[in-house]
Symmetry: C2
Subunit: 201 residues, 2 copies
């Protein structure tokens, strides 16, 4: 399916049919998510993948019992990683291991560390969450490309999710993306007119 | 080009060749951006499109003189719109004009208004900016799909951009996306391994 068609056919699926996705398709989606862009390539995110039905039931209680959580095949929990410094250091190792020039690596990493220092903890979280939405976007479009459905969701209790999934403080649940095969049908897409959204200079 | 190939071929272009994109291609990109998803479908974003070279020169000074700004064809400035209530009210009109049931519209709009009330001004901005990154992601992938290049950029002074573009307070420049034809070549893509990013439960 071409990208412009993916954009129009993707929709926020409210109910899945409980069929399990083949792991080969999920692995393809993982690659599409993994290669999402992020500022400085810091990749400040971790994605929890839940297939265990008992865990989904527990999480459903922390998501206003919305039926996507228990009827999906895999529940992806997109988390922002606020430990930017750890990510920067990991990225440094990766750049060196791939053979980047030491002086260029140092310059890039110093720039990232200086940027990181300018952010307080609230700004770190907001920044990491923004980046995470680029990865989320790839998941939503990627699912439709691979022939299945998805639903972006913010209606859940991040603290409860943290507790149930036993996440460290720096890994902050930010958006859900249940994936699977839809049991519902899309409504027509409704968007603001071009004139409201785009301004020419 | 298939979506998985778009993901791998898209890259942050550092220099464009100054050729002007045909408006028909830009219009296709606009549709791909316009149909991006957002929470509650509130679409809390406005995109400024700059083609005037004098304005680009001025903006370049507010973006550390990075060469993408003056060498691109069109500079897209993705802005978060923090006036969520105005967007919700506009969405209400749109839903009614498209023939949605009055009772269902009321229920949906009430939910959005209750959500909006829970956010202070910092949280409104952070939330709107996150959504804006979904639109930005569509732009980046959409450009490659349509046969041209792009660069996501956060390195600029939002206040200076506001002044130069004469934007109201609720329209907050959040990310840049210059588009055009690349004059550089991509480096190999570097990402954290799957094991670091994805955790199974």
């Amino acid at each position: 399916m071409e990208f412009d068609k993916i954009i129009m056919e993707r929709y926020a699926t409210k109910l899945f049919d409980k069929r399990r996705l083949p792991e080969s398709k999920v692995d393809k989606l993982i690659e599409i998510i993994r290669y999402a862009p992020s500022s400085f390539n810091i990749q400040p995110w971790v994605v929890q993948i839940i297939t265990d039905q008992d865990t989904k039931e527990k999480l459903s209680g922390a998501s206003w019992n919305q039926p996507q959580i228990t009827s999906c095949s895999h529940l992806l929990v997109f988390c922002a990683d606020t430990n930017l410094l750890a990510n920067i250091e990991e990225l440094e190792k990766l750049m060196i291991s791939k053979g980047d020039k030491q002086s260029e690596v140092k310059q890039a990493i110093d720039m990232m560390k200086n940027f990181e220092k300018t952010l307080n903890s609230d700004k770190k979280l907001a920044w990491a969450q923004r980046q995470t939405y680029l990865a989320l976007g790839n998941a939503l479009n990627g699912a439709k490309f691979l022939g299945f459905d998805s639903c972006p969701m913010e209606g859940f209790d991040p603290k409860e999710y943290s507790n149930i999934l036993n996440l460290p403080d720096n890994i902050v649940p930010t958006a859900l993306c249940p994936i699977g095969y839809a049991k519902d049908k899309p409504n027509p897409k409704l968007r603001f007119p071009k004139e409201r959204v785009f301004r020419y200079h």
